[in-house]
C-alpha cells in the first residue's frame, strides 16, 4: 500500500470547467493528498482558442469548478495547480482565469498566494531562435520559416513541471499556468517531493484525463500516489474502480505511440511497465522509466484564416436521395458558376463546399456502391472568402439555386427545407494550426514568466 513518503495528488476532472463532483473531491482529499492538479485545456478543441484567446468553456463553468477547488485548497492546505488555463494556455487565457480566481477568493473570503505562469512566446523570439538553428520540426511538418511565424496570431510553448515547482517553492498556494503538457502539471509535485521520474510522469499521463483511466469514465476523477519505483492509482468515487486494462490502455489515448511519450525534458518509456491490481479499486504500476534529454519546448501557433458563411437545407425528396452524389456534384458546379457569373469573382477568390450529412459529410470519402439511400440528408453549404461580408454575399447569391436546384430539368422546381430565416449563418473567421516544432531552451524556466496575482487588483 501507499508508503508515507509517497506523494498523493488528486486529479479531480479531465479539464477545469468540465464539472467536478464535490463529494468525490472531499473523498479524494481525505486520502491525505499533497496537491490538487489538473489541466484546463489542450489543442483538442481546435485552433480558435489559441488564435482568439477565448476559452471553450463558459466563465460560469470554470468559476464553478474553481470555487470548489479553491475552497478545498484552503481547507486542506494543499497547493492547487492548473495547467493550460483558458483552453489554449495563451496569456489571455491565464489572465482570464486569474480574474476568475480573484473573484472566487473574494467571495470565499480567502487570501491564497496565486502565481501566474505565462508561456506565450513573441514571434521575434522564435525568429531569433530559428536563425540560431534552435527550432526543429516534428513530423509531418517541415522546417519552419519566418513567414509562417509571422502568420501566427499567438504562439505558446508547452511548459514542463519546472515553473510549477519554482512557483511552489516561492510560496504559491495556487498556480495558474499557461500552456503546459497535461502530464507535467500532474507530475510537478511528485517530482518536487523526490518521487521517481518514471512513475511520476507515467502517473501524470494516465491521470491526465481524470476518470478516463477508470472502469466508468463518467464517474469522477482519480487519485495517484507516486513513490520512488512505482505509483498507484484509484478513482475518487467509491463506486468506481480502476483495473489493469483501464489503466494500461490509457497510454493509447490521443497518442501516436503507446510506449513512448516525449516531454519537455526527456522521454517517458512505459514499454517495461508492469500493472497489478492490488485491491478492488487500485492498480499499481512499476517499471516505467524517464530518460532525460536536452530541454525543448513544443510550440503551438494558430494563424488567422478566411471567413465562412453557412446555409443548411434538409432534403427528404426521394428523387434527390436516390443519387446524392450526382445531385451534390451538379449543384456544386451550378453554385460556383453562378458566383463567377453574377459576382465576377475568379475561382481562387472563394470556396464553396457542400457536405451532405446523412451521406458522407463526416468522412468526405466516396460511399460504397449499393449503399441504401438515406431517408433524409442535411446538406450544409459552406462559403469561404476573404471577408465575412463577401462570404455572406456569396451565400445570398447562391440562395435560390441552393433552395430550388432540380434533379431533372423537366420537373417542377422542388423547395428544400431551410431551418432558419434568414437562411444564412455568419460563422466567423477560420483559424489554422501552423506550428508543430520544438524550440531548444537552456532549461524549463528560460522562456517562462512568473507573476504574482494581486488579490486586490486581479492579474498583475
Amino acid at each position: 500500500m501507499t508508503a508515507s513518503s509517497d506523494t498523493v495528488v488528486v486529479v479531480p476532472v479531465g479539464a477545469l470547467g468540465a464539472g467536478i463532483e464535490p463529494a468525490h473531491l472531499e473523498a479524494g482529499l481525505a486520502a491525505g493528498a499533497h496537491a490538487i492538479a489538473l489541466d484546463a485545456g489542450s489543442t483538442d478543441s481546435g485552433p480558435s482558442c489559441l488564435a482568439t484567446g477565448i476559452s471553450k468553456y463558459s466563465r460560469e463553468a470554470v468559476k464553478s469548478d474553481l470555487t470548489l477547488l479553491m475552497a478545498a485548497q484552503a481547507k486542506y492546505g494543499v497547493p492547487l495547480l492548473v495547467g493550460s488555463c483558458g483552453t489554449a494556455g495563451g496569456d489571455d487565457g491565464v489572465n482570464w482565469t486569474c480574474e476568475i480566481a480573484v473573484e472566487v477568493a473574494a467571495e470565499l473570503g480567502l487570501k491564497p498566494r496565486i502565481a501566474a505562469l505565462y508561456s506565450e512566446i513573441p514571434g521575434d523570439v522564435i525568429r531569433t531562435r530559428l536563425a540560431q538553428g534552435k527550432v526543429r520540426p516534428l513530423p509531418p511538418l517541415g522546417p519552419l520559416d519566418d513567414a509562417t511565424i509571422d502568420r501566427c496570431a499567438h504562439i505558446v510553448g508547452l511548459m514542463g513541471p519546472e515553473p510549477y515547482i519554482a512557483a511552489l517553492k516561492a510560496g504559491a498556494d495556487v498556480v495558474l499556468g499557461g500552456r503546459t503538457t497535461d502530464t507535467a502539471v500532474i507530475a510537478a509535485v511528485p517530482l518536487m517531493r523526490g518521487a521517481g521520474a518514471g512513475p511520476a510522469w507515467h502517473a501524470g499521463k494516465v491521470s491526465e484525463c481524470g476518470g478516463l483511466c477508470t472502469v466508468d469514465p463518467t464517474d469522477g476523477g482519480v487519485v495517484i500516489s507516486v513513490g520512488a519505483d512505482a505509483f498507484e492509482i484509484w478513482p475518487m468515487s467509491e463506486r468506481n474502480r480502476c483495473d489493469v486494462y483501464s489503466v494500461s490502455s490509457h497510454m493509447l489515448y490521443e497518442n501516436t505511440d503507446p510506449f513512448l511519450l516525449i516531454e519537455p525534458g526527456g522521454v517517458l518509456d512505459v514499454s517495461a511497465a508492469r500493472y497489478d491490481l492490488i485491491d478492488a479499486r487500485r492498480v499499481r504500476v512499476e517499471g516505467s522509466t524517464f530518460d532525460p534529454r536536452p530541454y525543448t519546448m513544443k510550440l503551438e501557433g494558430a494563424a488567422l484564416g478566411p471567413y465562412q458563411t453557412l446555409m443548411w437545407v434538409g432534403i427528404a425528396d426521394p428523387d434527390v436521395l436516390e443519387n446524392v452524389d450526382v445531385f451534390v456534384q451538379a449543384l456544386h458546379a451550378a453554385l460556383v458558376g453562378r458566383v463567377e457569373r453574377v459576382m465576377k469573382l475568379s475561382q481562387d477568390a472563394f470556396d464553396i463546399s457542400l457536405r451532405p450529412y446523412g451521406w458522407n459529410a463526416v468522412s468526405g470519402l466516396p460511399v460504397p456502391d449499393g449503399t441504401t439511400p438515406p431517408r433524409e440528408i442535411g446538406l450544409m453549404f459552406v462559403a469561404t472568402a476573404g471577408t465575412q461580408d463577401l462570404a455572406t454575399r456569396i451565400a445570398r447569391t447562391c440562395n435560390p439555386y441552393f433552395f430550388h436546384f432540380p434533379v431533372r430539368r423537366e420537373k417542377e422546381l422542388p423547395s428544400y427545407g431551410f431551418p432558419f430565416s434568414p437562411a444564412e449563418v455568419e460563422r466567423g473567421q477560420t483559424y489554422e494550426f501552423v506550428l508543430n516544432h520544438v524550440v531548444e531552451t537552456t532549461d524549463g524556466l528560460e522562456l517562462v514568466r512568473l507573476q504574482w496575482v494581486n488579490l486586490d487588483k486581479g492579474a498583475a
Binding site: 509531418p140 501516436t256 503507446p258 489554422e432 494550426f433
Partner: protein, 101 residues
C-alpha cells in the same frame, strides 16, 4: 472473409495533436489479436487505401498485452482549418469497420 467490425471488440479514432489521427483496434482477446495481426486487411497499405491517404504515411504499432493494433496517420489538413469535417477525428474509424481481414 471476416470484416473488422466482426473481429474487433471496439475500433476508435481520435486526434493525437493537431496534425495526426490515431486509430486503435481492440480485439476481444489475445488469441483474437494473434489470429488477425497478420491479416492483409490490417497492413498500413490497406488502411491508406481505405481512408484515401497518401501511400507510405500510415504507421502501425502492435500492443500484444492489450490485444490492440494502433495506427497513426497525418491529417489531410491540420485540425480545425477551413476544410475541417471532424475536429477531434473521433468519427474517422467508421470506414475501417468494413475492411475484410
Amino acid at each position: 472473409m471476416t470484416k473488422l467490425r466482426e473481429a474487433a471488440r471496439y475500433v476508435r479514432s481520435k486526434a493525437a495533436g493537431p496534425f495526426w489521427i490515431t486509430v486503435d483496434v481492440f480485439f476481444p482477446s489475445r488469441d483474437a489479436f494473434d489470429a488477425h495481426r497478420g491479416a492483409d486487411g490490417l497492413t498500413t497499405g490497406a488502411i491508406e487505401t481505405c481512408l484515401s491517404l497518401e501511400p507510405g504515411t500510415a504507421k502501425r504499432i502492435d500492443v500484444p498485452d492489450l490485444g490492440v493494433i494502433k495506427f497513426a496517420y497525418p491529417r489531410r489538413n491540420p485540425q480545425g482549418g477551413m476544410t475541417e469535417r471532424d475536429m477531434h477525428g473521433g468519427q474517422q474509424f467508421a470506414p475501417l469497420l468494413d475492411l475484410e481481414i
